[in-house]
Every structure is written in C-alpha cells, then in structure tokens.
Symmetry: C2
Subunit: 186 residues, 2 copies
C-alpha cells in the first residue's frame, strides 16, 4: 500500500529532480547534517555541497556524519548564517535547502529568524541557475515558528510568476507536521 | 530540465500510486472525460470506473472519448450528482476524483456547490477502502469558486488525523491555477 509522501520525503523527491551529478548545491541550515548527506550523495564525486550553520554543534554533527559516510571531501562546512551565503559561494547552484526552526536536540531558543531567512532566500534566488530550486521546510510547532511563516509567505507570494513558480506542500489536518515551500527558477 | 509538477500532473501522480489493476474507482465529475479515461487506463480490463455528471453534455463527451479509445466497456456513466454516488456504487473503491468548478467549454453558471460537494466527499470517504485516496482539484477563478473553497477547507481540516491524511498542493504566487487536496484513508 502506497501513501502520500511525508513532507521531508517529498522535499527530497523534488530536490532529486533538479540536481545532477557534478552540480554545486547549498544546505543553508546544516543542522544534524542529514540534508547535507543527501545532497552530497546526489552531486557525486565531482559535485560540491556548501553547508552553513551558525551553531558549532551543528557543524560538528554534520562533519561527523559526512566523515562516517566517506563523503566529507565533497562538502565545505561554513559556520555562518545563511544570510551570508553569497560571500562564500561564487558559482551558480542548482539547489538550496533550508530548514526553518531550531536544531533538533539542541537549544530551542536558537531559531531561524524571518529577516535573516528572507535575506538568505533572496541571496539563494540570485545564485540559483535557471531550472534550479530552493526548498524551505517550515516547522511551526516551536515558539517563534508561528511568527516566522507569515513573513516568508508574504515574500514568496510576491515573487513574479514569470520568473518563479512557488509551490506549497502541506498537510491540513495537523498542526505539528512541517510543511514545504519550493521555489523553482524558470 | 525537470520542473515542479503542475497540479493536474501531480494529481494523476498521486492517483496512480493508490490504484491497482482490477480496482473499482469513481470519477465524481466526469466533465470532458479526461479523468475518466485516465482512470479507465489505470484499472485495466477487469477494473471498473463509475463516472458521474449532472450535465448531459458531459456524459456525451465522456462516452465519445471512451468509445474512441476502446475503453468504454469498463466504464459506467451516470447522469446524476456526486452527492448520490452511494446509490449507484455498492462496492469499496480505491480512488475518487473530483474537479470542483464548471465544465470547461460549457455553461459557466453551472458550477459545483459546497453542500453537494461535501455530501459527495463524505459519501466517498465511507466507500473508500483503507489505503484509498480522494482527490479534489479546486478551481477558484470562476464566479462562486472563491466561495466554495472555504467550506471544503473547513470540512477537510476537521477530518480526524488518526483516520485521514489531508494534503494541500498549491502554487502560491498565482491566483488562477487550480490547486489540489488529497485525502488518504489510513
């Protein structure tokens, strides 16, 4: 029996469609490193993943996971916020993944903020190659999560439809599940 | 270059996952017959599609299309509203597809109504086998379309999450594209 893809599985399903071996991509919120690992597998040996996080703990977890899997050579970890990705990545990218909320298993007071998130998304859109995609997985169950989303929603809804397609993937009869927004650059 | 699936393509992608050869399924709004044809292909020779529409023109278009494709033997056309599907279909079904709005190319004053749509969806949920799915493609560009959706939204949000999963698939930076709601019975 098949079922509707969960938000995180659908996010990976989307990113897989847009990323080819050899691409450069960005994990804007490395967290525990699972998306960094997923991206490192997708881009292959000749590809490159830039992974950002402001927390040292996240950088360490991600490095540990990627070394364990033998994929660390294709990853560059940067301890800085995703509002600064343009300072580090000088080439076009085919995908940028954001997880909005807090680092699981860490200090829940350290959460992403709408101002820096929107800066990060704007930067990501300029760096994205045509036919590339940004994914934002939005958690609203934590304090501040309810406040962040309306700012992001307002911003992504304003994107010109001739240049971008903005998709919402959301389970409606639950408050706690994360939902996903994908922005495709035409 | 891949792209985000359009709403109608994603709807077919979902239904394909849930329907097997030999199943019985329902097209609750036959319209021009495209979903009836899609379902008839999915269920195969031993399957059955019940297709409903209140407009004679829709019944005729659908019959014409299905005969043309040689798949009419596996289809039963019923000229009645989808609020009465239980009177005609006495077996479990694995999928029910609804298109909410008007029949393209026909009288735009004849549109689906929230009361009958909700009756139809409720009936569909009772007839659905566990692991089955209902899809609702919602057009809001026509007069009355804006009014119908809040009723449907309120209803599907109220479905118990232990029994159903309710997914919204919607493009955010356009007003005119249809969006899709899928209800999976657990």
């Amino acid at each position: 029996m098949k079922q509707l893809l969960k938000t995180l599985d659908f996010t990976h399903f989307v990113v897989k469609e847009f990323v080819n071996a050899g691409d450069t991509v960005i994990d804007a919120t490395a967290g525990n490193g699972y998306d960094t690992l997923f991206l490192a597998e997708l881009v292959g040996e000749r590809g490159k993943v830039f992974a950002f996080d402001i927390q040292q703990k996240a950088i360490q977890s991600t490095e540990g996971l990627l070394r364990e899997q033998g994929l660390f050579p294709r990853v560059q970890l940067i301890r800085d916020g995703h509002e600064h990705i343009e300072e580090y990545v000088k080439e076009e990218v085919s995908a940028v993944m954001f997880n909005l909320g807090y680092l699981p298993g860490s200090d829940h007071r350290i959460v992403t903020q709408p101002e820096t998130t929107i800066k990060g998304v704007k930067a990501a859109l300029t760096m994205l190659s045509p036919g590339g995609v940004i994914t934002l997985v939005v958690y609203t169950g934590h304090p501040g999560g309810q406040e962040e989303w309306p700012f992001i929603e307002h911003y992504v809804k304003s994107l010109a439809k001739n240049n971008y397609r903005v998709l919402l993937y959301k389970f409606l009869n639950t408050d706690k599940s994360p939902f996903m927004v994908a922005v495709e650059k035409r």
